[in-house]
Amino acid sequence: MRATPDSDSTAFRFLRHHLTRRRLSQLDLRLKLELGLLAALIMGFVFWQVRGAFASVAFQGGAGTVVSALAITWLGLALISGGFVAVRHAHRLRTRPPGPAWLSLPASERALARHLAWDSGVVAAWTVVPGVGIWCAAWGYVPWTWSLALVLPLAFVLLGACWMGTWVGERIAMLGARRAPGVHGLAAVLSESGASARARRRGPARWTSRPGWMALSLKDLRITLRVGSVRRHLATSLLFWILSALAWRLPSPPHMRDLEWVSAFILALLGSAALGEWLVSLSGADPFQTLRSLPVGLGQVWFARAALALAATAGLLTLHAAAASGLTPHALRLFLVWVGGATLAIAALAVNYGVTLFPRADIAQRLLGLSLGLAVAASLMIPLLGWIVLLSAVLHSARRLSRWSRLEEA
């Protein structure tokens, strides 16, 4: 029996309802609280950044100009959100959208397209977080009735941008799809889903003899280059490190002479934290069954990751030694010892957590974040206490290493 458009819509509505419920129920209470806290922080940060700008606009042009500024800022946010959704939707349609083999189901193309667009666009809900921050930042500079009246139009702008993004994404995916005779529209895109990935080939492998740890390190680098989620951590780290080196070129007025090295130090540490996340994600990329059925010991696995961390730290120190040319040799040595020491400690902590909590990279990431957060908080309260917290965490995590050989997948 052929499904009618009405029954299709009902079925997809039912699916969307259950998917939403299931996805929310998968977040445990702690994660929900963490996400809530993160949203509040982002909202607060955006509010803090935009509030000053709106104050200046209100001073110069009054409430009407603030409304215009609010609308323009919001529109910019909606454009970014729509662009992101477009790219995501096109990518998902081209690779393989989540769910069953959609073309095997007797669903109408329209209902299916709407469902896939919803699934790609649902991520844009996060735009509400900075959006609320922007809206709150205008509060007080425009009459409150205007603020309230703006809520609905602003919400529609976001929804419209999301809808537009999915429409553009679908068109982009259709442009790239190979047209088979008699197959059009979304069916043409879905029938080609994953075809470009299937066509991809690697160069011939290099069959050489080398120590086991080196083979593991090289494999880690290869995985980093090929897996987006792993690559992003390393790219973030490198970005922060480059910014930290550029911080030495900041124009520093005489009353802010410490700005250069403080910025360089903080940015370098942020990069080191991202390096730690990269090392943990490498552990998460190891298939348990493959690694554990091979004659590989703890030493090899640990040293493979530590060697990468050592090489990265050496690169960071070289970068700063070259960039901080204005420092006296003594000050430069001191800076390099602090940055190098902190990076190595963070990396050792990440390697220990990644290796000992294998294959649960998610727990390792959380513990790493918690330890680093505690170290930062301790540093802010009492100078140098952060080092004690960090080194204690490294020692504590190292005590777990002996359990490595008895870890199980479950």
């Binding site: 690697r202 059925s293 590989v296 997948e409």
Partner: protein, 241 residues
């Protein structure tokens, strides 16, 4: 030689393996038969060092798998029921990586890997990322990785499940060759016909216990070579045996 001695493994209240004991001699292929949930995969995973036993021990060539894991795993090959890989590596890169960790001579390992891939019909796909492989191709690759180093003990968990007829025929031939060279092979399957054809002995597991052990004389010699249907398939597939 593989010794499984009084092996017990529990998942909470469920006793998946209950004091299981048997041996697989060098040069012998032993089939492990049992219904779903009988404990076959748990036994093979425990023997391969993937999960620790609650009691008992597993010895590979006299080496305890849990006391000296690296020494034991050097002599062990394991083909999993649901194999996992570094999905982004090509089959060739994956096998080259395995060869380094197993400390194999790169030239002879490459030759053997390519020969096995050729026999199993994967030559044309060896430079493709594993993520693009079908279920059967993944099983074949897992089998090649498990036998690449000519292990002294080979553990196969439903290893031929998903193979096409030509691939299954070649894999059985490789199992026979390994056994003739002195390997001890423990091979689990749901399919009694495969066990009858390939194995010298069968161990029947039921509810985590060894229910019975049978030697080949209990079921007799099957007809040598491929069955009539296999012959037809091989002729169509163009395989030369």
């Amino acid at each position: 030689m593989l010794i499984i001695h009084e092996l017990t493994r529990r998942y909470g209240d469920l006793v998946a393996l209950d004091r299981v004991s048997f041996e697989v001699q060098s040069g012998e292929i032993v089939g492990l038969l049992g219904a779903n949930g009988a404990g076959k995969s748990t036994l093979l995973r425990t023997a391969a060092g993937l999960q620790a036993p609650d009691e008992g021990r597993v010895e590979v060539e006299g080496i305890d798998v849990w006391n000296e894991p690296q020494a034991a795993k050097r002599r062990l090959g394991y083909a999993a029921e649901e194999p996992t890989f570094y999905e982004e590596l090509s089959a060739d890169e994956y096998l080259a990586f395995i060869a380094v960790l197993r400390n194999l001579d790169p030239v002879s390992a490459r030759r053997r890997a390519h020969e096995l891939l050729e026999r199993l019909g994967l030559t044309g796909r060896r430079d493709e990322p594993v993520m693009q492989f079908s279920h059967g191709m993944r099983k074949k690759l897992s089998f090649v990785a498990a036998v690449l180093h000519r292990p002294a003990v080979l553990l196969c968990d439903e290893a031929l499940d998903g193979f096409d007829a030509a691939g299954a025929f070649e894999a059985k031939a490789e199992l026979g060759a390994l056994a003739r060279d002195g390997a001890a092979v423990l091979f689990s399957s749901h399919v009694t016909e495969t066990i009858e054809r390939v194995c010298d002995r069968a161990v029947l597991l039921h509810a985590g216990r060894v229910a019975r052990q049978l030697s080949r004389s209990a079921w007799g010699d099957p007809a040598p070579g491929p069955s009539p249907l296999e012959r037809e398939f091989l002729a169509v597939a163009g395989a030369e045996h």
